[in-house]
Symmetry: C2
């Protein structure tokens, strides 16, 4: 798939078919995540891939905007280990770049995704930490629900000229 | 260009030719930025596009890792207006997704880029705010230096199996 088709037809998919995600597609998506840039190339990200239905249902029950995690075949929770950061303060940016790569790589495989925000909302982070056994020192950015879409991809135009400033604000 | 070629051959480019960036390519890159997801679809991002050489040189002189901004034809500073956020706490993630889209769209046009981090380092944010006249209430995430590369793109393998956890940490 062309890079621009992927960029311009990616949208949040919240409804999924019963079809599973292949190991090959999942591997490609995770490789894409790790191809992201990071501050000082420190790559502090970690990925908890949840296929287990009971675990997905537990996550869905505790995150207010991730109900679809119960029915989609895969959930990926994107974390960072601060001990792997060469400079503090950039882990959110590193993990967000990796997460965006997940969404685009999934689109390239015709998989649907939705990014469910967690950090800095403690009431979304801590239940997922408990369910997945993520250690206290590990940061949790957010999660992606992924599967074969039961709703269409389509081009969404979010362009707004007034967001662009030339040479100064 | 295939989405996976873009994802896997994007790397930081810090050396640029004298060739300028066309209006068409710049427009496509900015459209890609605004195609990113954002929390509650609030799209709080703003982009200051700097082509003026004197302004680029001023930025290069004040950011410790953006010396190449003096010689590349375009710098894009990625900002967020908190007043446009529907929920606080997600602007860094929104802007990082937009910034990653800039890097990938540029790769799709054979333009080189490097992401120079700024937030939360006040000594990098405030000088650029002053130079570009960015109001005090506007957040500044980071900047992208962009141009035609004077060094090759190549596949970089950052894959580490130990970063992947299955069903729990």
């Amino acid at each position: 798939m062309d890079i621009f088709e992927a960029l311009f037809t990616r949208r949040s998919i919240r409804s999924f078919t019963a079809e599973g995600v292949s190991e090959e597609d999942l591997d490609m998506v995770l490789r894409a995540a790790m191809a992201a840039p990071s501050a000082h190339n420190s790559q502090p990200w970690h990925f908890v891939v949840v296929r287990d239905e009971e675990v997905r249902k537990a996550v869905a029950a505790r995150h207010p905007y991730a109900k679809m995690a119960a029915d989609a075949p895969v959930v990926i929770v994107v974390c960072a280990n601060p001990a792997e950061c060469k400079e503090e303060g950039f882990w959110q940016q590193d993990c967000s770049a990796a997460l965006e790569n997940i969404l685009l790589a999934a689109r390239g495989k015709n998989l649907g995704t939705v990014w469910c925000g967690m950090h800095p909302m403690e009431d979304r982070v801590e239940p997922v930490r408990e369910i997945l056994g993520i250690p206290a020192g590990i940061n949790i950015l957010g999660l992606v629900v992924m599967g074969h879409p039961a709703q269409p991809f389509r081009k969404v135009d979010r362009y707004k000229a007034e967001k662009i400033h030339f040479d100064r604000w």
